[in-house]
Amino acid sequence: MERVDHLADERNKAEFNVDDMKIVWAGSRHAFDVSNRMSRLVANDPVFEKSKRAVMSRKELFKNTLRKSVHAWKLINELRLSDEEGLKLRSFMDQPGFLDLHWGMFVPAIKGQGTEQQQQKWLSLATKMQIIGCYAQTELGHGSNVQGLETTATFDPKTDQFIIHSPTQTSSKWWPGGLGKVSTHAVIYARLITNGKDHGVHGFIVQLRSLDDHSPLPGITVGDIGMKFGNGAYNSMDNGFLMFDHFRIPRDQMLMRLSKVTREGKYVASDVPRQLVYGTMVYVRQSIVSNASTALARAVCIATRYSAVRRQFGSHDGGIETQVINYKTQQNRLFPLLASAYAFRFVGEWLKWLYTDVTKRLEASDFATLPEAHACTAGLKSMTTSATSDGIEECRKLCGGHGYLWCSGLPELFAVYVPACTYEGDNVVLQLQVARFLMKTVSQLGSGKAPSGTTAYMGRAKHLLQCSSGVRNARDWLNPGMVLEAFEARALRMAVTCANNLSKFENQEQGFSELLADLVEAATAHCQLIVVSKFIAKVEGDIEGKGVKKQLKNLCYIYALYLLHKHLGDFLSTNSVTPEQASLANQQLRSLYSQVRPNAVALVDAFDYTDQYLGSVLGRYDGNVYPKLFEEALKDPLNDSVVPDGYREYIRPLIKQRFRSAKL
C-alpha cells in the first residue's frame, strides 16, 4: 500500500523552517539529537508496543510493564547509554513503572540526604539495580501535610537499632509508586524518636523484601492499593500500601547527612545547612513543569492534526465541507493551548537556569534568594499542571465524539497526567505558599528592601499602582513593554489589594483564611506574569531559522492576550486595562489566530513525536484517520466473534420469550 501524506498540503503552507523549530523545541541541537535517537529506538522496538494496553487485564499490564522496564534497562547497559539518554528512553517508553520512582525519587533522596558513606554503599547497589527502591512518604491520613506523618522510628540504644512502627490505621503508607509489588527497599519517612523526644520527620532506608525470593520480611505488610483512573495509565504502576509492626533496622540506615543519631541516642544536627534540600525541590519542580509542556504538546499535536483532517459543515453548493481548524471557535480553543505548550517549554528552560543558579548560591552558602525560588517554583508547578490537565481534556473535546475513543490517545493521556496536580504538592496548597510569599514581599515595600528575581517588578510599585496602559490600537498589543506592564500592574494591584484587606483583620491568620480565594487568584496572576515575561524574553532574544522567531512571537502574544481575555475581570477590576483596550486585544488575538492558522500543523510537527509515542489514530502524522479508526475497531476483543459470549444465556431467551422462572 502506498504511504500517502494526507496532511502534505498543510505542511506546505508552513512559513518557517520546521527543522529549526525542532531545535528550539528540544532546547538545543544536542537535546534534539538525543531525543530523536531515543524516540526512534523505542518506536522501532516491538517490545515497547503499547496499542493493546487498554484491553490487558491488570496482571497482564503489570507483567508487560516489568518486561518493558527490564528490557529498557538492558538496552541502557548494552548500548552504554548516558544518564540523559537513559532518562529519555524511559520517557519514550511511556508506561508508568517502578523505574520512574527508583531513579526519580529513591536515588535522589539518598544523594541528597545520605552521608558520603551511605551514598557509597547504597548508591552502588541502586545504580546497578541490585536493589530496587521507592519513596514511601505519603500515608493514608496524610499527603500534603508531611509534618503530620504518624509512622514512627524509635531508637533502641540496647540493640543500636531503629524500630519502625505503624501505630494507627491512618499511618499506613499509601500511594508510593513501585511499592506494591516490586521494590526491595524504600526510603521511609517517619517521626524520629530518641531518648523520649520527637525530632520530626526523617528518612530511613528500609529493606522490605527478601533479595532471595522477594517475600516480605517479617513485620512488614505490603500490597497494591487498587485500580486507578483510566484504561492503562497508572494501572501499570504498583502504587502500594505498607505497614510496619515494630520492624527493626540498623542505626546507620537513617539518612544522616543533615542530622544524625549517635550510638548513645543523642540527636545531632550536622553542620550541613538544611537549605540544601531546596536544590532538589527546584529540580523536581522543573522536571514537572517540563513534563507539563510535553503532555500538553502531545494533546495539542493530536487535536491540531485531527482538526486539519476533520471536516464538518460549511459546504457550499455540494462542495467539500470546511476543515474544523478553520472555524474561529476551534482556533480560539486550540491555538491558546498550542501557545501554552511552547510557553511552558520555555519557562521550563528558564527553571533549568534557576536550578543551576540556586545550586551555585547554595554551594556559596547564599540563601538570600531561596524564599523567592521556592515560591516561584511552587507557583509554576501549580499553574502549569492545572492548565495542562484542563488543556488535555479540552483537546479531547476539540476532537468531537471520536476523541472519546481510547485509540484517540487522549483519554489515557488525561488519566495518566492528572495526578501531577496532586503529587509533589497539591496545586491549591502550593498557590497559598506563593500567596504568603507575595504578602510578605508587599509588606516589605517601602522598607527600602528592593525585591528581586520574579518579584522585581514590585520594586516599581509607585509607578505600577497608578499607571494606565498606553495601548491605542490593536498592534500596540504586540509591544512587549505594553503587555508586561499590563500583567505587572494587574498582579501587583491584586497582591496589594489582598495585603490591604489582610491588614484590616486583627488576627493575621484569621484574615488569611478568610481571604484564601482572593489570595489564590493573586498568586495565579503572579505566576502568569512569570510565564509571560519568560516567553517574551525568549522571543525577543536570538533565535535561528527562517521564519521561526516570527511564529514564536505570534504564539507568545496569543498566550498573553488569551490570558488577558480569559482573566479580563482581573484586568478591568484593577484598572490595568480599559474595556476599549480589551476590545483591541481581542482584535489582535483574532489577527494572530489567522497568522498561526497556516502554520499550525508544522508547529506541532516541530515536537518531533513518533506515531508510536503519540499512540493516537486521530493524530497520525500522515492524517490517514478514518481507515485506521476502522482497523482499530476490528481489533477490539468484542469483535473476536460475530455472536457475543452471553448471547445464548441471556439475549436469546429474551428474544424468544423463553425465560426460566427465576428461583428466589
Binding site: 500490597g223 500500601f241 505497614m243 479580563l568 478591568l572 474595556p579
Partner: protein, 187 residues
C-alpha cells in the same frame, strides 16, 4: 391534569415596552440577595448582549459578509449571549421552585443556594465590567458577598448533599469513611 411547562411563558416573552432595568449604585448585602435585583441584573446583561450581537452581525453584513460568516466572526459575543440566556433561564427556574415552598427553613436555605448560584455566576463573568453593567466597587461587593455566603452555607453542606437521596450503594467508600474503608482489615 396539565403539567406546568418547564419553561414558564414569562421567560419566552420579551415585553418590548418594559423599561431597561436600572441597578442601584450601592450593592448592600440585602440588595445582592434580593431576587428582584438578581433578576434585573441577569435580564440587563442578556438584553444588552443581544443588542450588541445583533448590531455587530448587522454591521458585518452591511460590509458585505455573508450571514454565516458574520455569525462566525461574532462568535465571542454569541457565546457570551448564549451563556447569559442560559443563566437567566436557570435563575428563573430556581425562583419559581422557591416561590412554591412554604415559608420555613427549607425555603431559607434554598434562598441561600439560589443567591450563591446568582452571585457566583456574576462574579465569574467579565462582561459585567467590560460593558459597564457593574462598577469596580460593585464587583468587589459581589465577591465579598460570595465569601459570606460560603460561610453561611457551610453548616448546611452535609444536609444539602444528603438531600440528594442517593443510596449508599451508589456512592464509593470515599463518600464515607475513606480511611476506614482502605485500612488493612478491609483490604
Amino acid at each position: 391534569m396539565t403539567k406546568e411547562p418547564i419553561y414558564s411563558p414569562r421567560m419566552l416573552h420579551r415585553d418590548p415596552d418594559s423599561p431597561r432595568p436600572v441597578l442601584p449604585t450601592q450593592l448592600t448585602s440585602s440588595t445582592l440577595r434580593c431576587s428582584q435585583f438578581q433578576t434585573n441584573v441577569f435580564c440587563l446583561r442578556e438584553r444588552d448582549l443581544l443588542e450588541r450581537f445583533t448590531s455587530e452581525v448587522a454591521q458585518l453584513q452591511g460590509r458585505g459578509e455573508s450571514r454565516e460568516f458574520s455569525f462566525l466572526l461574532s462568535h465571542q459575543l454569541a457565546e457570551d449571549l448564549g451563556k447569559a440566556f442560559t443563566e437567566k433561564a436557570m435563575l428563573q427556574t430556581i425562583l419559581d421552585a422557591e416561590a412554591k415552598l412554604p415559608t420555613g427553613s427549607v425555603k431559607d436555605v434554598l434562598g441561600l443556594v439560589r443567591s450563591m448560584y446568582a452571585l457566583i455566576s456574576l462574579e465569574e463573568d467579565p462582561s459585567l465590567l467590560r460593558y459597564g453593567y457593574l462598577s469596580q466597587d460593585n464587583v468587589g461587593d459581589v465577591r465579598r458577598e460570595v465569601s459570606k455566603l460560603c460561610g453561611e452555607l457551610r453548616p448546611h453542606a452535609l444536609a444539602l448533599v444528603t438531600s440528594f437521596g442517593i443510596p449508599d450503594s451508589f456512592l464509593s467508600p470515599i463518600a464515607f469513611n475513606w480511611v476506614e474503608a482502605n485500612t488493612w482489615s478491609s483490604v
